[in-house]
Symmetry: D2
Subunit: 342 residues, 4 copies
């Protein structure tokens, strides 16, 4: 940690800072500059409660932490990349994995038709929401337990692995039982009690980046899960909120190589939410794979114009099949593999 | 709702849209322009699940909703301003209310010392976190139930009303019992199960705007609570996330008159989080009152440099007393009142 | 400057950094931490071309500058606040100054009617655009030289000081001759040749913050003007671009006390552009004064619904008169003065 | 254009709007809804000065334009994609084009060494700044005319086409003479006099998106150039400004397919500025090509740690060669071609 003093800081205030950091267990080194003094403090900053509070001391301009605040997610701590085994299917290795399906589970017919279609194109994972976070309380909020039953039925009929979202800690056991990967949605990226609750499980957690979560905060959210003992965290970039209104979000693909340089955890990309427009999904899916993503999450619906949620960003099954063929070509060009259907 | 067709849209696609919106219960009116056709649809859009999905129909460029998506929070629905009675103290009327106290409850001595001080300066509400959302799992997360007990003790000793945050639905009864106003924090502004849970109570809820929540989304979050039957919602502006790094957030005071033009709910402002810098708190508190806020929420700590959270934005009690005197003058200049202590 | 090395940095790379910074004229101090080494470099960073380039050296994680990059604008360099004399009227002192008038000069009748009205309410400065930056080339781009003549006429008839925008360096002499304050618009905040050109004058320059310019960049833009020898720079906050769409911009009033803590230059606020909505202008004008602004810039038009630009944010003269009376009350509450008309 | 009236709008105000829009040459159609009335106005909105001003009329809630504000840039106006011929090299067709070189021209040795290297790897265009926009007036601002001479020399020696930035309209002739493509930088994306000036030329213009310019504004900036008679505009995505601080900008690749759906103009991508980190340039260059970009602009410097500007984002020539080989593979996977060197 580096503490920068204001220009002309009083000597007694410099000494006060030195004393305080010593009390906190650091070794301070005072460096006198031409204009300002800085106090370099040697010691582990993480887990210390009162670092930023030092900015309240007189004549302190700012406190600059040096160490990364996350430990278990840090690639410096664990240099080999994490590969997660989901019932025999590996995510995070050479083979790309694709999760596909509707935003919401709406009916048996809808979910089974979608499941068969995405499986035929090569997806190994089926997504579908049973509990849906919706901006308005008057919108469709999902079929709840009935939705979970329908996902279980689709799993039984197709062998696809299931990914569904957990919103309410009260549903933890119910969701954990019916699914292969628990999804934490973008709005809950910093819902800490929810992160704690899935940290106590030992099943895979797909953690979506919040729409204005920095990468550092995102990795700290993952750290919540990891620090409770669950190492199976999949990071998912899904777009951030900006001033641009031509699309629902800006898919931040910089985050893919950046997260991979910061952490050993696998990184997948959701271009459906990341664009909000079905016409942009395929090119951005290609781009995600080219940027180094370990997988994709894609919204597919047999009849997007009748979807109860996220219709404008859902692909029809025949367009999803084209997506799979196109990303298989990109995968080859970056020395990754993708298993196509049929 | 207005549906804009692409230029040169096929006649059959226009007819398909007309048929679909009729099936949804609207009366469509086709308007043929020089370049584009638009279909104006008369009927209530709210509560309809499939409006945006219509953008998936062929040759539809976009769907423009006309009605506001919120109803109970809407000032058009209820033109008189809501005043909330908290144990005899009114919030939302002529008199400004100030909520003050530390970010976290840390000890009996700290909370009682702060409570006495803010009361002496005129505050009628004490804030203090017992359950704290923290970016890192390694930071201080609050004293939990012990913190609630200490707040109850401070209430008993000073008569101040208590405001504390609820993060986890499991703590609902515990928090509801010990507090006068339940706070929903910025990160939980769109935590819908949590909003539902406090919607089932009949006590006041202080709802903080998320750091990238639009005003429309913010009012929809309030609508979650209102639509469950709890009319006692206090909106709190606390700053939004932008590119600027000189301060922790940008306090968006535009939202104060804008929210008051959209909704009848009271609006308060938190300049402590809205700036993150104690040296900006007093001027921005003055600005908030000048912009029309119904109250303020201010972080006060007897020793900011030893605070376990949010030290850099906390005022010492003597600075808080100056704040109260300064905002009392502004209150007078906008025909509001503020009761000072002593 | 502090150079942070990656964990496990090779000794030869540490030595390479030390050698490079010595060559650049700094005194390096190597501090060995538990996990990382940092190299604290003593010396003046400003005016050095190659500081950030050091991040390209092997095993360097990041370079943290310590000194502020601006000098002449810095309050540490010149602690007394700058007061600018514009033909006998002082801006930056105890008395607030208000600049008012239409977005564009449209006709003799319009500009004279507006000038008389704003003068009657107490404004001492008339704004009006002769050269207008417009998003579309098909929109009204101003009356050009004829507009400047009409402003000169209004000055002659009313005695108001004139503020108008310079967009094109080719018009420098023309604009400088006809006006009392040259305005550099938000889009040109980092138009460096334009800044250089007004830096060579000795007349006041009103510099608007760009809509995504950080405060540090804003002060560096002022530094361009100051460093050419023109000390008469007025900073103007006019709103920043965010995700919120209820208003045209978010007026960032945090910047008022923050800029005043960073620089000695006067700071005024434009709530017309900062909100884009005439119904928000008065409350935000009050808030700006409460936050500590040295003045305001307000769009006033006798017939906003017929304005050729910025109609929705323009006040009618009778509303402007109310604004003046309301801010005079706020001025009193913050120990500033404002001269009202008649 | 659709005009939405407030709920309960007075009949006389509805009539006033109808009259005003008729005066402006539109055919109004009043549609009475259950809660609100809307007035659909048939006629061409573009080039009308007073559309938004109608929001100032009493009881008008908002005005929703229907037509796109740009004409010549619009793909609906000109459905075939524009291919630009730069001295025999085509940009915008099947073959990808790569522009590479240093941020600034620093010396004869530096520019010739770089030019030879990027040519050997397959680039056909050399970039290099002679006039540099710099945040600080104390930083290196380019070699000016000497820089242009060195670029001309590099062109002569290597046959590469030259791309350099124009900042100051006074340098128009000078820059136009020495270069093959004139670049308008991100800070000047809405510098309208500068756009007008290059609109009067008939040589190619590379227009960079401003860091908070919407796509609509970006196309309107292109429209400035097109409407003066110069059809040779190349759009360049180079990243936008957000809250994220791990990288200099967020490269918005959504814009690539989105711009291609809106306009016929070619779209290239600059991942060097779009990330600001040399370690992210190669993956994001791959992603850009996968998203459908027509070309790339890459910063290459023989000694990034000694670069006078943008060192941290510059590739060494050997890394640039790897980039070229990797994007050639991606090009193949999206049915585009790229000519490699050697």
């Amino acid at each position: 940690m580096i503490i920068v003093m204001v220009r002309g800081a009083a000597e007694e205030h410099v000494n006060q800072v030195i004393k305080e950091v010593q009390d906190l267990g650091y070794s301070p080194h005072l460096l006198r500059g031409t204009e300002r003094n800085v106090i370099a403090c040697i010691g582990d900053e993480r887990g210390k409660y009162r670092i930023q509070a030092l900015e309240s001391l007189p004549d302190v301009e700012r406190v600059v932490p040096i160490l990364r605040p996350y430990k278990l997610a840090d690639i410096e701590t664990r240099p080999e990349r994490t590969e997660i085994d989901i019932g025999g299917v590996k995510l995070g290795g050479m083979e790309l994995q694709v999760i596909a399906g509707p935003c919401s589970v709406e009916s048996e017919e809808q979910i089974l038709e979608t499941a068969e279609a995405v499986k035929a194109s090569g997806a190994k994972f089926l997504r579908g929401g049973a509990f849906k976070p919706r901006t308005s309380p008057y919108e469709f909020r999902g079929l709840a337990e009935e939705g979970l039953e329908l996902l279980a039925l689709a799993r039984e009929k197709t062998g696809l692995k299931i990914v569904t979202e957990l919103m309410d800690p009260h549903h933890l056991d119910l969701v954990a039982e019916k699914t292969d990967i628990i999804q934490i949605g973008a709005r809950n990226c910093q819902n800490f009690p929810l992160l704690d609750s899935v940290g106590d499980l030992d099943m895979p957690v797909l953690l979506k980046r919040g729409w204005s979560t920095t990468l550092r905060e995102f990795l700290m959210a993952a750290e919540y899960i990891l620090s409770r003992g669950n190492p199976n965290v999949i990071l998912c970039e899904r777009g951030i909120r900006t001033f641009e209104s031509e699309y629902r979000n800006v898919l931040d693909l910089n985050s893919v190589p950046a997260l991979r340089s910061m952490s050993h955890l696998p990184v997948i990309v959701d271009p459906s939410h990341g664009t909000g427009r079905q016409d942009l999904v395929i090119p951005m899916a290609r781009a995600a794979v080219a940027a180094g993503a370990d997988g994709l999450m894609i919204e597919v619906h047999p009849h997007p114009d009748r979807a109860l949620s996220d219709g404008p960003q859902s692909l029809r099954p025949e367009r999803f099949d084209i997506l799979m063929r196109e990303i298989a070509r990109i995968a080859g060009a970056v020395d990754r593999t993708l298993t196509l259907g049929g």
